[in-house]
Amino acid sequence: MAGQPGVPFLEIEALRTREFIPAAKEALGDLIAEKGQAKLIRPVFNWAGRNSLFPLHWGLACCAIEFAAAFGARWDAERFGIVPRSTPRQCDLMIVNGTVTWKVAHKLITLYEQMPEPKWVIAMGNCATGGGPFRTAYSVVPGVDKLVPVDVYIAGCPPRPEALLDGILRLEQLIRERKE
């Protein structure tokens, strides 16, 4: 029996080796990809992913105050399932809410890399988009898209909480339309 061709998905020999788990993963993955994923699983995960965006809880500058206001009683971003988490490991979304300086740039990149895939970035406000009023300054990164890929830009200095919520909803739209 061992090594006989024709056994579906797995070589029996592989069962005895350490290759079993990767092989099984691959086989199951193929199975799901062929049958289920396109029709059933992917829409469910897509729905889940876009409806539960956990942004990173940090404040860079002025926009952080409006970011906080969006979680206040009047705007209550939690209505959309947006809950800020303090550690990047549990986040899907990095909202760059303020001016990015060169001093903080590598920390921002580290935080971005610490976030598990899939992840998104929103550049909130003019500073994160393009440097804003500090564009000419010696210490300011003119736009966070020089450091990390940005999915949604929100204009405003600072954008109102409604604008932030709108940006997040637009991101949800982007995720909905995403083709992998």
């Binding site: 060169w102 001093k103 564009r135 000419t136 300054a137 010696y138």
Partner: protein, 157 residues
């Protein structure tokens, strides 16, 4: 407290270190001194009751640099402005931290931004700019980016 009072109180003790006391709006006076006896000036002014140092700043006048100190007295309810000049090619001064510990961070900032070094400062490190930052942005010779120039520079990054 008036400028004359300041001069009367400080003049004999400080001698040539004290250049003069001018009036300044809303202040007890603007006291100019020579940098050689800076620590004596600080001690004397502190002795007059100006125990609270609010501000240390530097100005680059291209040929020389000015350091100014603002101190507050709780008894007189007044500020005093101290200022001294250091040559641009040899910009250093005695630190005020032994007299006013609050000068610590202000002097660090002045050192990194205006390039005025403070002798005997306990901890002269970069505060606002990253470690190893080689420029002193608040010097007049340091030019900001022009917006157009920035556009060209960053377009292909």
């Amino acid at each position: 407290m008036q400028p004359e009072d300041l001069e009367r109180a400080l003049g004999p003790a400080l001698g040539p270190t004290l250049v003069g006391v001018e009036p300044f709006v809303g202040f007890a006076g603007r006291l100019r001194f020579r940098r050689e006896g800076a620590l004596d000036v600080f001690r004397a002014v502190h002795g007059l009751g100006f125990a609270h140092l609010s501000l240390v700043g530097g100005i680059d006048w291209v040929d020389h640099r000015e350091v100014f100190y603002v101190a507050w007295s709780d008894d007189a309810r007044q500020y005093v402005l101290l200022s001294t000049e250091v040559p641009a090619n040899d910009a250093h001064l005695e630190s005020a931290t032994p007299v006013w510990p609050s000068a610590d961070w202000h002097e660090r900032e002045t050192w990194e931004l205006v390039d005025i070094s403070f002798d005997h400062h306990p901890d002269l490190r970069h505060l606002l700019t990253p470690d190893g930052y080689a420029f002193h942005p608040l010097l007049r010779s340091f030019k900001l980016h022009e917006p157009e120039e920035l556009e060209v520079k960053t377009r292909h990054v």
